[in-house]
């Protein structure tokens, strides 16, 4: 048989019973041991006498009223002061014991040591605070990129354009072209990093949708620009858009540009990259296909993560944001971006609903 007296005295938790006046009437050996105060010295004290000052103010202003009003409190965090002055963090439960007439007889308090839990909670709070600071830093980072970095790029761009109107040697003219290309690349990188920062900050990529303006000319321009930049590569396209599309055309151009660039970079140079755009079944479907090595399984699962750079040689490496941002643009449109890889073809497929309804993104 279990020895109930011993169970009380040496339970793996502390016990206190308080009189209706709030004085300690009984406590167990476990609690005495924790506090380093003999049980007989605890009798007649108030619970708050065992707490630090902050805790006692807390107790009087919060937990004592709560106990009176609802007859119990649960999981209250308190700091006891032990005989050698150190703090003993505990979690306390309390219930009032009343007689049939409703008179308060005792308040029973059960205490559990919570040193490690408290430390863990503090660490959580600190981590939350650190995350908050980081979030703020990111906001500033976006602002710096968006403004402070773009202005000098624009100035350089204008400067080079003015230079090109001056009489220049052939070599200088070529140099200015290279410089313009580099500046365009810098602008693109800034855009990508800003998009990443936005998509990671939880707000997602903002869209300005317009179903009235045609998408095809935008797509054609992207294809032409890429074809011009990669004269060795052939881009075969097939564009059949017969219905209005509720999309952000600038973002669609970005998506197509990112995915076509990816196909050109990774595709076999002796085979064309094939791009197809169509509307059917209430969806816009874009496909990007290239010949080349299949994508290894271990790469597949990381493909859309930011800063992921696959099997490219160093000279081809960008920031590794292109596919991530394309997938974010797809998500913002309530659409999807999938990839299939076989031995002879890598195929990216983007789908989105033609009609956009106000409401949660992606609910279909």
């Amino acid at each position: 048989m279990e020895d109930l007296e011993d169970l009380y005295e040496n339970a793996p938790c502390g016990y206190l019973s308080l009189t209706p006046q709030g004085l300690i009437a009984k406590s167990n050996a476990t609690l005495s041991g924790w506090l380093g105060i003999p049980s007989e010295q605890l009798i007649g004290k108030r619970l708050r006498d065992l707490l630090n000052v902050a805790g006692s103010i807390f107790y009087e202003t919060h937990f004592a009223p709560l106990l009176r009003m609802q007859g119990f409190f649960h999981e209250v965090a308190l700091d006891f002061v032990t005989s050698d002055g150190t703090l003993l963090p505990v979690l306390a439960n309390a219930t009032e014991k009343r007689n049939d007439a409703g008179d308060l007889l005792f308040t029973r308090v059960t205490l559990f040591q919570a040193t490690k839990r408290r430390r863990y909670e503090r660490e959580l709070v600190e981590a939350e605070e650190a995350a908050r600071r980081l979030g703020k830093l990111r906001e500033q980072f976006i602002a710096v990129l968006g403004h402070d970095l773009r202005n000098p790029v624009a100035a350089l761009h204008a400067g080079i354009n003015m230079l090109r109107r001056e009489p220049l040697s052939k070599k200088s003219l070529q140099l200015t072209e290279v410089m313009q290309g580099s500046l365009a690349r810098i602008s693109e990188l800034i855009d990508n990093v800003m998009d990443l920062a936005r998509s990671q900050s939880g707000t997602g990529i903002n869209l300005s949708r317009d179903a009235n303006a045609p998408l095809e000319p935008v797509l054609r321009q992207v294809i032409n620009e890429l074809a011009a930049a990669h004269p060795d590569c052939t881009i075969e396209d097939e564009i059949m858009l017969e219905e209005p599309i509720h999309c952000d055309r600038k973002r669609m151009a970005q998506l197509v540009s990112n995915l076509l660039s990816n196909a050109i970079t990774h595709g076999a140079s002796d085979h064309p990259v094939r791009f197809r755009a169509s509307t059917s079944g209430g969806e816009l479907i874009l496909t990007f296909a290239n010949r080349g090595d299949p994508i290894p399984d271990e790469v597949m699962s990381h493909l859309f993560q930011p800063f992921f750079r696959g099997r490219t040689s160093t000279s081809q490496q960008g920031l590794g944001l292109g596919l991530h941002i394309a997938s974010e643009i797809a998500r913002a449109h309530g659409g999807s971006l999938d990839v299939q890889s076989s031995s002879d073809e890598v195929l990216f497929t983007f789908r989105m609903p033609l009609i956009w309804h106000e409401g949660p993104v992606g609910v279909r």
Binding site: G55, E60, H62, A64, A77, R118
Partner: protein, 244 residues
Amino acid sequence: MVFAHGFGCDQNMWRLVAPAFEADYKVVVFDHVGAGHSDLSAYDPVKYASLQGYADDVVAICRELGLSEVIFVGHSVSAMIGALASIKAPDLFDSLVMVGPSPRYIDDTDYTGGFTAPQIDELLDSLADNHMGWSAAMAPAIMGNPDRPDLAAELTDSFCRTDPAIAKAFARVTFTSDNRADLPNITARTLILQGSDDIIASERVGEYVHAQVPNSRLVYLKASGHCPNLSAPEEVIAAIRDFV
């Protein structure tokens, strides 16, 4: 009669007292901004950086409800809030009932508030850094918890809901306030209810308030602790009845 709650709780603080006066008075209970069911979006850190901000709310409530000859019953810090309101709008208030008032919690030369500045700092630190006492009992009730509807349901009828962030600011305002100079300017007749063995507002503090408020009466309650309105409502009701 307007009943105002103090730091740490909400209008539930008066649930055992206020109903006793409903037959004879128009009874008004309310939650300060940040507590109970108040509109948290109405919290303005600048306005509520001093007790005057809360006092202005009391005046606004009285004006909005067209009250006159108000008997203002304030617990703890709301005793001082009521004092400030009555000084600002003496025409509105007939009398003040202060339950456990303290014009200043921190000791000063020739004044015993009951706490040293480091102790109050410790309290404010533990509110600012150590949230625990708070989050354990309060936060789930206030925040709601969309991922745990069972938890939310369990806590919907919780008492003394307080927004943690606002409570921190309210604690700072409360425990660093000094309204000693305001006490002599109170013109309303005033009842001071002093609990026995109240560590938040000691008897010495109650006696100080009595000495400083011109037209005041001090009544010692048998009830112990800082919340006689909960622990001994009959005694509090009787004392208020006797006064009004």
